[in-house]
């Protein structure tokens, strides 16, 4: 019997009071660029390029393979890598798993069972490391300073003779701080340690030059760059050659590193999205940076606003702020006309604050009341102005309800 939805509690509606919410959650995902969607649709149906790219015995298969290889060039070009260094995966989560497990398992054969990462990494890295701990690996979790940054000296002092992998993200997804992957990479290379970087939040937002960087493995996602969900890539450095053990077996696709029939339409979408990102890197950045300044200036007018994370080494699109005197879940609900993220997850009795913000040393109240506004290519001034208007209406209202005598 079908579940009766008529008595269901009121949920987070897509339309509040007839108005579509303003989308300010580009760090979670982005809409697919129209130009990307057009290319993808060409790879699905009977009269399109639908054949299996591995079917090189016929022209239709070779056509599909041609598009896959073109996309590989497009992805490689955004980050100045060689096309042969790009491995298709299902997304950054799989790339992180493949990179860290793949390198750690190989290191274990040489009795290297130590991994260094950071407490504010994405769960795809943290949970992978936790799994490796269960398998007997030893993991050091570095704690960033108040700015959110990990210093080179922290990595230097954490590394041991049996360290096989260091994994540090390029840009943090909650606060947008940029890590010094150039310096950390240099150090890791000098010690023969595999250096992995999760670049899901930085590709297409910051220039990345993998010829210049000493990075062994780098994870990418298409859907953060106006491409489709369900597709990503892992850069595997060819010189010096980085080796990883596969975690998915069967068919030997992608040089045996990641088996499975290639999703032509997804790959073509990622290629086109990365190509557009390369062409629009500067103009996207300038557009987003201008809107971020406008948003921050407007938000500050309610007073008691704290920016979380380093404000100099940061990506343009992420603005993470805490509001004094307002609880996070209520704030998120009060701002339901805006599609934003909260650092709080007050569904548990302990009202656990954002693990990232707590790692930065924010007091619980401020960590609980953080909101991540993230802007993107399709954000507009009216979007930003509307967000400011809603915040200016709701934050003082909630503050007044809970006004405490000090």
């Amino acid at each position: 019997m079908a579940t009766n939805l008529s008595n269901h509690p009121e949920r987070f509606r897509t339309a509040v009071a007839g108005r579509q919410p303003v989308y300010l959650d580009y760090a979670a995902t982005t809409p697919v660029d129209e130009r990307v969607a057009q290319k993808m649709m060409h790879c699905l149906t009977l009269h399109g390029v639908f054949a299996n790219p591995a079917s090189t015995s016929h022209q239709m298969g070779r056509d599909a393979k041609g598009l896959v290889e073109l996309a590989r060039v497009q992805v490689a070009n955004l980050v100045n890598a060689r096309p042969s260094e790009i491995i298709w995966t299902s997304g950054a989560t799989e790339s992180d798993n493949l990179a860290i497990k793949g390198a750690a398992h190989l290191g274990a054969h040489r009795n290297r069972r130590h991994i260094v990462t950071c407490k504010t990494e994405h769960k795809a890295v943290l949970d992978t490391c936790k799994q490796l701990e269960l398998e007997g690996f030893d993991v050091t979790y570095l704690v960033p300073g108040q700015s959110g940054a990990i210093s080179l000296s922290q990595v230097q002092s954490a590394v041991r003779d049996d360290t096989s992998v260091v994994s540090i993200m390029h840009v943090n997804n909650e606060i947008g701080v940029v890590q010094d992957i150039a310096a950390i990479g240099e150090f890791c290379r000098s010690r023969g340690i595999t250096f992995h970087v999760d670049a899901a939040q930085s590709a297409g937002k910051l220039p990345i030059d993998l010829q210049a960087l000493s990075v062994c493995l780098m994870s990418f996602s298409a859907h953060k760059v106006y491409g489709p969900k369900g597709i990503g890539a892992l850069y595997v450095c060819s010189s010096p050659r980085t080796l990883i053990e596969p975690i998915i077996h069967g068919g030997g696709h992608e040089k045996g590193m990641r088996s499975g029939t290639l999703a032509t339409h997804q790959i073509v979408g990622m290629g086109e999205a990365f190509d557009i990102a390369r062409q629009q890197l500067q103009s996207d950045h300038d557009h987003i940076e201008r809107l971020r300044e406008r948003l921050l200036t407007g938000l500050r007018e309610v007073g008691g606003v704290h920016c979380n994370g380093c404000q100099t080494r940061r990506v343009a699109g992420i603005l993470n702020v805490s509001f004094e005197g307002v609880e996070g879940e209520s704030l998120l609900f009060a701002l339901r006309e805006l599609a934003v993220s909260s650092g709080s997850a007050c569904t548990s009795a302990s009202a656990e604050a954002s693990y990232v913000l707590r790692a930065l040393g924010r007091p619980d109240q401020l960590a609980q009341s953080s909101i991540r506004f993230s802007l993107g290519r399709f954000s507009t001034e009216p979007d930003v102005d509307y967000a400011i208007q809603v915040v200016k209406r709701e934050v003082p209202r909630l503050r007044a309800l809970g006004q405490q005598t000090l």
Binding site: P9, S330, S342, G343, T347, A349, G402, Q404
Partner: protein, 127 residues
Amino acid sequence: MSTVLEYNKVVVDHFNQPRNAAGGPGADYVCGEGGSADNGAWMEFQLKLDKRRIQQARFRAYGCPHTIALASWLTDRLVGEQLLEDHVLDKKEVADVLGLPAEKMRSVLIAEDALRDCADKLSGAQA
């Protein structure tokens, strides 16, 4: 960073239009508080009493929508009730009306703490 936002009509109504919000300290009321902002939920009731009978109630609250809605709803619900030293709220009624999930039941305990604090203050004032 995911938060499941699921509130019933009563919660949404009281959250959008709180009843009897105090807006500040209540000098001529019996006031009592429970919980703390640092722990994510704080509630204060300001009561006008005829002996122990609640004639009027106001609130201040910091917390999730359930906490704010509960405080607001109680300011209506409590009128006419007797304020008791170990005041107990009907948890089943509260959970039914506000659709409180199990993990939010601590809001009810905070409300009880605030009411018991009112009762303590009342005894202190009378002593």
